[in-house]
C-alpha cells in the first residue's frame, strides 16, 4: 500500500508515462481513494498550466541587431 508521501513522489513519473505494472496500479488505486492526493495532483497541474503562460523574454534590440549583422555578413 502506497502512502500519500509515496504518491507525491511518484506523480512526475506517472505524468511522464514512466510508471507501469503494479506500481502504476497501486498509484492509481491510491489516487482513486485519496482526495488530498488528488487535490495535490490537480494543483501541480494547475501550477504547470499557469507557468506555461509566463511570457518569454524579448531579445534586446541591440543583441538582435548585432546577430542580424553577423548573419548578413555570412551572405556577403
Amino acid at each position: 500500500m502506497l502512502s500519500c508521501r509515496d504518491v507525491t513522489e511518484l506523480i512526475t513519473l506517472a505524468r511522464e508515462d514512466a510508471l507501469a505494472g503494479d506500481r502504476l496500479a497501486a498509484f492509481s488505486e491510491h489516487l482513486s481513494l485519496c482526495g488530498d492526493c488528488r487535490a495535490y495532483q490537480g494543483q501541480l497541474d494547475e501550477a504547470v498550466e499557469i507557468a506555461r503562460e509566463v511570457p518569454p523574454e524579448p531579445v534586446p534590440t541591440e543583441v538582435e541587431g548585432r546577430l542580424l549583422a553577423a548573419f548578413r555578413g555570412r551572405k556577403a
Binding site: 509515496d6 501541480l44 543583441v63
Partner: protein, 209 residues
C-alpha cells in the same frame, strides 16, 4: 503558445531558408529560442551577463556552421548543444562545478517532510482553493507568484522546468542538450514543479486570510 511541435521536415525547410540568407527566418529563430538558451547556459556560468554572452557567441558559431549542419536531429538541439559546449568551457575556465552532474543535497524533496505523519499519510494536507480561470486579476496574480518562484528555483531546476513547461521541449530534447540522464532530468522537473505548486498554495492561503 510555447509548445511548438517541430518535425524534421520543418527543420529541413528552416535550415534551407537560413542557408539562403532569409533574415526573417533567422530573427524568428533567435527570438523563439532566446529564453530557452539563456536558461541552458545559466547553470554552467552562474550569471545572467555571462549567459547572454555565451548565447550571442553561440549564435555567431551557428551562423558560421550553417553549411556543416547535417540535419540529424532537431535544429534546436543542435543550437542548444553549441550553447552547452561553450557554457561548459566557460564554467571550467571559471572553476565552477558542473551543475547537472550530481544533484546537490541542499535541494529539498518536493513536499516539506513535516507535512506528512510518520506513516507517510498527510498530516497537513494541501490547502484547497476554487480555481476560477475566468477571474483575470487572480490569474495574473497567481502567474506573478509562479514567476517569482521560477526565479527563486535552484538554477538546474529552473532550467529544466523552463525548457519542459514554458518552452514545451520534450524530455528527450532536454536530456540531449543538457547531457543529463533521464532520471536526473525527471528529479529536477519533479522538484521544480512541486515548488511552483507550493508557491501557488501559499498565494491562495494568503489571499484567503
Amino acid at each position: 503558445v510555447p509548445s511548438i511541435e517541430r518535425t524534421p521536415r520543418d527543420d529541413a525547410a528552416l535550415v534551407a531558408r537560413l542557408r539562403a540568407g532569409d533574415e526573417e527566418a533567422f530573427v524568428g529563430l533567435v527570438r523563439q529560442m532566446h529564453r530557452a538558451l539563456l536558461r541552458v547556459a545559466f547553470p554552467f556560468v552562474g550569471s545572467q551577463a555571462a549567459a547572454e554572452e555565451i548565447v550571442q557567441d553561440a549564435w555567431v558559431a551557428v551562423i558560421g556552421g550553417l553549411d556543416e549542419f547535417e540535419g540529424r536531429g532537431a535544429i534546436r538541439t543542435w543550437v542548444g548543444r553549441i550553447v552547452v559546449n561553450r557554457a561548459k568551457t566557460r564554467g571550467v575556465r571559471d572553476r565552477r562545478s558542473v551543475p547537472f552532474s550530481s544533484l546537490s543535497a541542499d535541494e529539498d524533496g518536493p513536499v516539506e517532510p513535516e507535512r506528512f505523519a510518520p506513516t507517510g499519510l498527510w498530516a497537513s494536507p494541501p490547502s484547497r482553493w476554487e480555481t476560477s480561470p475566468e477571474e483575470l486579476v487572480l490569474r495574473r496574480e497567481a502567474r506573478a507568484q509562479i514567476e517569482r518562484e521560477l526565479e527563486a528555483l535552484p538554477p538546474a531546476q529552473r532550467t529544466v522546468v523552463t525548457l519542459r513547461d514554458l518552452e514545451g521541449w520534450s524530455a528527450e530534447e532536454v536530456c540531449n542538450v543538457l547531457d543529463v540522464s533521464e532520471s536526473n532530468q525527471r528529479v529536477l522537473l519533479h522538484r521544480g514543479r512541486a515548488r511552483l505548486r507550493a508557491a501557488l498554495e501559499r498565494y491562495h492561503v494568503e489571499r484567503g486570510r
